[in-house]
């Protein structure tokens, strides 16, 4: 279970405001990415994320570029999970691949307010907002994507898988 306070945004939060292209020349440098995450949309984000680590948003979160630096920037900044009405598909895959949990939860942006405390049960596909006595169901991830998340992302997942195959072969 992930428990935390919410930073809330609207619809169509695009990759170019999550991490502007002017910082991509730094590759995937965690310091640069966490420093500049969301700065064009919300200059206060850097402060907010110190005490709140759940992002709640409207539809089409992560719209735009295939830059993996977008979910990386949020992860390095301290975001623990993103809940949205819907996600843009490349962002969705990238987030799982770099080990940043996220879940589509219909209605979440209507019920949850900025600063609310939430409890997120990823494997069960549900969230709770205790102060409002509300509970919502989200879209559970397919088993193999959940496995990737649990491993911490696609790199550790594959490293383990390929290593296991190799030891099988030698054994």
């Amino acid at each position: 279970m992930i428990r935390g306070r919410v930073i809330k945004y609207g619809d169509d939060v695009d990759t170019d405001v999550i991490i502007p292209a002017r910082y991509l020349k730094h590759g995937s440098d965690p310091k640069v990415l966490s420093e500049h995450a969301m700065e064009d949309l919300d200059p206060e984000f850097k402060e907010k994320v110190k005490e709140r680590n759940i992002i709640v948003a409207g539809k089409n979160f992560g719209y735009g570029s295939s830059r993996e630096q977008a979910p990386l920037a949020l992860k390095y900044a301290g975001v623990k999970v993103i809940l949205a009405e819907s996600f843009a598909r490349i962002f969705f895959r990238n987030a799982i691949n770099i080990g940043l949990p996220l879940m589509e939860v219909k209605g979440v942006s209507k019920i949850v307010d900025d600063g609310d405390v939430m409890e997120v049960y990823l494997e069960e596909g549900r969230v709770r907002i205790p102060s409002k006595g509300a509970e919502l169901s989200g879209t559970k991830l397919p088993e193999f994507l959940m496995e990737i998340l649990k491993a911490g992302g696609l790199v550790p997942y594959l490293r383990r898988r390929l290593h296991a195959e190799n030891s099988d072969n030698s054994g």
Partner: protein, 416 residues
């Protein structure tokens, strides 16, 4: 009854598949470029795997080139070293290629029926050749290169049927802006947008690429146009492998939408969304910069359209017009045809084939409060520079007309 994309994914995964299924498909083309190459190689090293089909990899220097500073020089070096380590099937050095989405089709790397992945969201461009082409992240690319295949959820297909005929000064850009504003920025999320109908069939390839490229601006997994004579003629002296064309069966679409292009006006997407669309004639805005370039506005056709408006005339004194051909080939053609000289005469600055200012990296970044009109594909906040700058998207004809007048202008107003 299957869609073309279902047929392609069935072939690539070795079993009959339908929309909604999750499959592992063999990849025919892996495209990487300078901003992501280093991330891909790092992930590959961390996984502890090798690129199993280096001959299927196409590596292209296009984003931050020629290097604008030390960091971007390092990214370019990393891509170059990655290529040298594996001897990829193709590598395009600065000056010898151009924008990845212009190069992949132009150099014959993609043929109908291919499954193409690229570390860039506009990879669906190649779908105009009848391929299944999708953008992915760097880590996923590393995994795909290590395994030779990648998982996909088989998408349903929405048919965009173009009726009627394009009038003079109306482009594929006007149609796709109309489509995006009609269905919204997530209207095609997880789906394929397939384009067909008499209006689509009359378009040259240079225009068709704009439709599939910007499908992603409506959230689509990819855009697709089944091959016809125009496609086959285009491929005849380029294709590096034999085509495996796939066609959608009648009735296989999740939905069909009709657009009559005869009634299209020159359209403009206002800041900060490609779905925020109005006719050019209804917009009252002075501009500081006009950009003709990118993977939706830097092909030969686009330069021709610009010259058709600008030939023998000078651009407005308040405007910088930046023109960046999408590829070396297109640049040389344009030179031979006198297009570049004509643009220089009109007052344009010509840049080397690259992504240029489209993503705000260099060669024309906007300052605070500046306004640009651009033939590129995205106008998100801060996309082309300062977060308080504004980008309007339009066809090359509309961009050229606006450069001439100094404010956003319907191209039909400046031709007699």
């Amino acid at each position: 009854m299957s869609t073309a994309v279902e047929k392609i994914l069935s072939r690539a995964s070795g079993k009959e598949v339908t929309a909604g299924e999750i499959v592992e498909a063999e990849i025919d083309v892996f495209m990487i470029h300078d901003p992501m190459g280093a991330l891909v190689e790092d992930a590959l090293n961390e996984i502890g795997a090798e690129v199993i089909y280096p001959e299927k990899v196409v590596a292209i220097q296009d984003h931050f080139i020629p290097a604008k500073d030390i960091e971007s020089a390092i990214l370019s070096m990393r891509l170059r070293q990655f290529h040298r380590r594996y001897n990829f099937g193709a590598y395009y050095e600065v000056g010898k290629g151009g924008i990845c989405h212009v190069i992949l089709p132009e150099e014959g790397h993609v043929v109908p029926g291919d499954v193409v992945v690229g570390t860039d969201s506009h990879t669906p461009t190649s779908g105009a050749l009848g391929a299944f082409a999708v953008g992915i992240g760097a880590t996923e690319m590393a995994a795909a290169m290590a395994l030779g295949k990648l998982w996909f959820k088989v998408p349903p297909t929405v048919l965009i049927r173009g009726e009627g005929r394009f009038k003079e000064y109306i482009h594929a850009k006007d149609l796709i802006l109309k489509v995006i504003s009609t269905i919204g920025t997530d209207g095609a999320n997880y789906k394929v947008l397939e384009f067909d109908g008499p209006a689509i069939r009359q378009l040259e390839m240079d225009e068709r690429f704009v439709l599939t490229n910007m499908s992603v601006e409506a959230g689509a997994k990819t855009g697709f146009i089944s091959p016809d004579d125009v496609t086959m003629n285009y491929l005849s002296n380029r294709a590096r492998r034999p085509p495996r064309p796939a066609y959608s069966d009648k009735g296989s679409f999740e939905e069909e939408l009709q657009f009559d292009v005869s009634s299209l006006e020159p359209l403009v997407a206002l800041p900060h969304s490609p779905a925020n669309v109005k006719p050019a004639s209804e917009i009252d805005e002075e501009i500081d910069q006009a950009f003709i370039g990118s993977c939706t506005g830097g092909r030969l056709n686009d330069l021709k359209a610009a010259v058709k408006i600008l030939r023998g005339r000078k651009i407005s004194e308040r405007v910088r017009l930046i023109v960046i051909p999408g590829s070396r080939k297109g640049y040389r053609e344009a030179l031979k045809m006198g297009l570049i000289d004509s643009l220089l005469e009109s007052g344009a600055a010509i840049g080397p084939p690259s992504c240029g200012p489209c993503l705000g990296a260099h060669l024309g970044v906007l300052g605070p409060g500046e306004v640009a009109i651009s033939s590129s594909n995205r106008n998100f906040r801060g996309r082309m520079g300062h977060p308080d700058s504004k980008v309007y998207l339009a066809s090359p004809s509309t961009v050229a007309a606006s450069a001439l007048v100094g404010r956003i202008t319907d191209p039909r107003e400046v031709v007699s």
